[in-house]
Amino acid sequence: MKVPLNWLSDFIDLPTRDPEVLDEILGSLGHEVEGWETLRPTFEGVVVGKVEEVGAHPNADKVRFCRVNDGTSTLDVVCGAWNFEAGAVIAYATVGARLGTDDAEPFEISAREIRGVMSNGMICSARELGLGDDHEGILVLDELGLAGDADVGRDFSELLPFDDVVLDVSITPNRPDCMSIHGVARELAAYWQIPITLPDVDVAPEGPPTDARVEILDPEANPRFTGMEVDGVAMGPAPLWMQFRLLSVGQRPISNVVDVSNYVMLEMGHPIHTYDQDTISDGRLAIRRAEDGERLTTLDGVERTLVAGDILVTDPSGPIGLAGVMGGSTTEVSETTTRVLVEAAHWDPPSIMRTSHRLGLRSEASARFERGVDPNLSHLATQRTARLIVETAGGVVRPGLIDEYPTHIDPWAVDITARDVSRLLGPEPTLEDSDGLLRRLGFEVAGTPDGLRVTVPTHRPDVTRPADLVEEIARLHGYENFPDHVRRGENGALTPAQAKERSVRRILVGAGLAEAQTLSFVGQADLDLLRLPDGDARRIGIRVINPLREEEGTMRTTILPGLLKAVAYNTARGTSDVALFEVGRVFIPAADSTDIRIPHQPVKVACAAVGMFGADGLDIHGRPTDVHTVTGILEMLTAALGRTMTLSAAELPALHPGRAAEVSIDGKPCGIVGELHPAVARDFGLEGRVAVAEIDLEPLIADQPDWSFDDVSAYPPARFDLAFVVDASTPAAAVLEAARAADVGGVLESVDMFDEFTGGSLGDDQKSIAVRLVLRAFDRTLTDEEVGPLRTVIIESVVAATGAALRGG
């Protein structure tokens, strides 16, 4: 909210106008100052002048020739405005004056010839002086009551409080009472413990009583309605000082009556509506809830369709206003209005919020109503408005304040004990201190046997419980005055699963992958890019009801599309070697096993790589990414975590039919690995082989009851290589498994494949698999005599299991 210090000074004597100090103080009270603006006149060299003579220009019809007294001499000025005559006191820009000094290029006034007549300066309009939009005519200062003959020659900038500082204060939603200059002044008065002046609400009713009547048909929707009639108004512009203030808070002046309503709302925080009373049928208003489908044309000219629950102001002709949100077009004040009905009403906050949000009609008024306007302010706001209308638009207040208030809302009492305060705030402030602090805020305080009984004024709907009072005490005491104490817990250890999850990330980072964070959404288009078949479970995601973009329309069932897009983002920017991983949740449309109210949201580990992967240097550039890149990463990851991974080749959606596998960890299927199908890779904008994996995190971080030490032998190993010729379709894993399964009395330390060979002397449907075996005993050095028979046992095992032939054997 914009708070000009000059306006604030109507209510309190500011001990300081230093914005930095005010920033500090308002901040400490919970009203953050987001910034401030220093206002200065936008002109230099403008004086109060008096028009001595007005005559026709000898050579032009549309302008007139004037003689203007600037206090020292009388000069010739040509003027295009017609809204003044001789004798008018005006704002006179002398030769050398500068206008628009807040612009990059101010306009300097020079003496110049206009159609053969020298014009020495300019008579200014409001707009030329930065005082609003009005440029229909010049400013006639004596008509506006701003200056008279005695002021001629004075610097115009002295006439209005041009020098001002406007604070931009952020008001939290629990404090509707501070959405006004008066409210902010009340907080500062409490802080400084200084008196506050209330706005003048005296009215002098005259003539016959008003015939306007209001009936509240739904007191829950409209707990209070106050109104007052002002008769005989003359619509026109508001006085300059009021326009000036509205402009300083960014509000565009419209007309005297409308400006007064806005002024009172900004000043007192109570939104005001004004009707042209002569357009209200029979002068009778009734307040009720709308029915579904009712229609109303609001004053912006839009026909609105209403729903049950909207609150309507009606007259015998039907709805004439959407209460608290926007008036109707038929009853708004216009240029011809002479009789104004002022309305200050209290509306049900949630109803206003629903209606204004639904229709997208959020205004200064609805913002206040939906947070809660003080119901006991309504009659004062009505009177203040009526008074200011009379002041600015003439007319008289008709006797008879309309005040429908079926159930009076009274201040309420909240009891608070010393312990309520000390257990949340500590020993200071004491109960006695608290008493004083609450009184400063305008709360009535009385003692009880163990504490205080606090009566809360109705402008503080946020204070209903002891905790709310504690907040008020803390706020006024000053948060900075509470000592600091570091609160320690008992045990900051990660759980084993959390520690292992960190390990998963660290191992992958250590392996050379970069961690990505991609969005939790997928679009149907992403799943199409993956070419997932219709029946694929990953096709069935949980839909977002209100996504902002279609690609954020479904919760992801797989991390891969997001990760592949991130890979493509990099390759498109010239990074050709990319290896990413992500650890994140996917969303499965089935109940969670521990909380059936929500869906299952398991964490997956996914990776994707393209280009070269591995060590990089002068004569080494990694190796081209393929399926083995990622199976190798998974092998390393699982081995490092003490798990056993097995792969079984499979044809899988999105993946290369001959280069994909299902992954099992410790015997449990948990994901997939492989190269992308080239067509899928192309669709993601990727070239070359793209290797991916996506597995469950759970088996990697699950408890490991049997993770015990395996002793190491002190004896040397016996190493030998074997090459087996097998059918081309035999998986290498079968050879390795058979070798491991051979009964060699527990001395087989490792089997690893080091070569694969086809062609040469081998048949077309054959391949050679070369493995290196390491045997080692715990209790002795294996002799050649021992190793020979064991070698035979291993060969026999492989031959039996795979039909292999020992190459060169």
Binding site: G426, D468, R487, V509, A511, V544, L548, R573
Partner: protein, 339 residues
């Protein structure tokens, strides 16, 4: 035994050994001087023909000659070995400034690092880490956190709702949504744990926000909660000021200004003085009694504080990152700056 010839050999030996140009020449010389066919060896073989009393004398003289020459040969051999090795090493010289054989360098995402950093700061003072579901019920995200049914944060303009996963329509507290904050874990954690509670909750949250430099529909928060029988506003201030010093450096100044959140009362915003200005860093407050009631804690018996901070904001402030989109583009040129 005539030693004259041997004396001449021994006398000439040092010069000849020193002149041996390489190991092969030295080996040849060694054979000649002390080898089996050397004069020395032949004299040794003839020792037996001497008189018994002369044998030790002659033997000692022969041994002396052998030792003298062998020692010189060993010294020369060591010198030649060294020379040969040095020559080899010289041949082996490379330009060490060419690019090394770099293992692939992975990186942790800056958001993960930041979350780990924050969690570790709190773990060091005894806070547990917990995580929770990202699709939540309105009850945990709003109702349990004292957020009124009409609160604007529940509107679709702020909160993303999801369709029921099982086809069963839900309404009110059962509605499913993408959690807008990590705060729902406050209630979930307290339901499962009795006080005292000291926990931080990192995780992903969602808002109906359009992408721009400071907004994203997905971002991360870290929630904190401490509940016990004796917690006051001083614990809140001291703990978070400690966090700021740990995260931004020992000079970090903090200030707390009153604010409003539905689930804390009193509430505050913590500002940190960083790079010459006050920055809003996080929201916090004393846990509202209604939150305790929602989870079955007795608000007359326990008190606590809670806080929530944006991970992206922390990282942006600490590292001078101006655009939140950098976190989600996963550009390796960005990721690799923060390992």
């Amino acid at each position: 035994m005539d030693m004259t010839e041997l004396d001449a050999v021994v006398e000439a030996a040092p010069g000849r050994i020193a002149e041996a140009a390489d190991l092969a020449a030295l080996e040849e010389l060694e054979t000649e001087l002390v080898g089996r066919r050397s004069l020395l060896s032949s004299l040794r073989r003839s020792l037996g023909s001497l008189e018994a009393e002369q044998r030790p004398i002659a033997g000692a003289a022969l041994n002396d000659a052998h030792q003298a020459m062998s020692a010189l040969i060993d010294v020369r051999r060591a010198a030649l070995d060294l020379e040969a090795e040095n020559a080899l090493l010289e041949d082996d010289r490379v330009d060490v400034t060419v690019p090394g054989a770099r293992p692939p360098r992975g990186t942790h995402h800056l958001l993960t690092q930041t979350m780990d950093d924050v969690c570790d700061i709190f773990r060091a003072i005894g806070y547990q880490v917990a995580t929770g579901p990202e699709i939540e019920t309105a009850w945990y995200n709003f109702d349990a956190l004292n957020t009124p049914p009409t609160h604007p944060s529940r509107f679709e303009s702020d909160t993303m709702y999801v369709e029921p996963f099982d086809g069963e329509e839900r309404s009110g507290p059962d509605e499913l949504l993408l959690r807008t904050q990590t705060s729902p874990m406050q209630a979930r954690y307290m339901e499962k744990h009795d006080p005292p509670v000291h926990v931080v909750v990192p995780g992903r949250v969602f808002r109906t926000d359009t992408w721009d430099a400071t907004h994203a529909p997905v971002f991360h928060q870290i929630e904190g909660l401490a509940v016990d029988h004796d917690i006051t506003i001083s614990d809140l201030k001291g703990t978070l000021a400690h966090f700021a010093r740990e995260f931004f450096g020992p000079e970090a100044k903090t200030r707390f200004i009153p604010h409003f959140f539905p689930f804390t009362e009193p509430s505050a915003e913590m500002h940190v003085w960083f790079r010459g200005g006050w920055l809003e860093l996080l929201g916090c407050g004393v846990v509202d009694p209604n939150v305790f009631e929602a989870v079955g804690y007795d608000p007359a018996e326990v008190s606590g504080f809670a806080f929530g901070m944006g991970v992206e904001r922390l990282a942006m402030v600490r590292h001078g990152i101006a655009d939140i989109r950098h976190f989600y583009e996963n550009d390796l040129r960005v990721l690799r700056q923060f390992t």
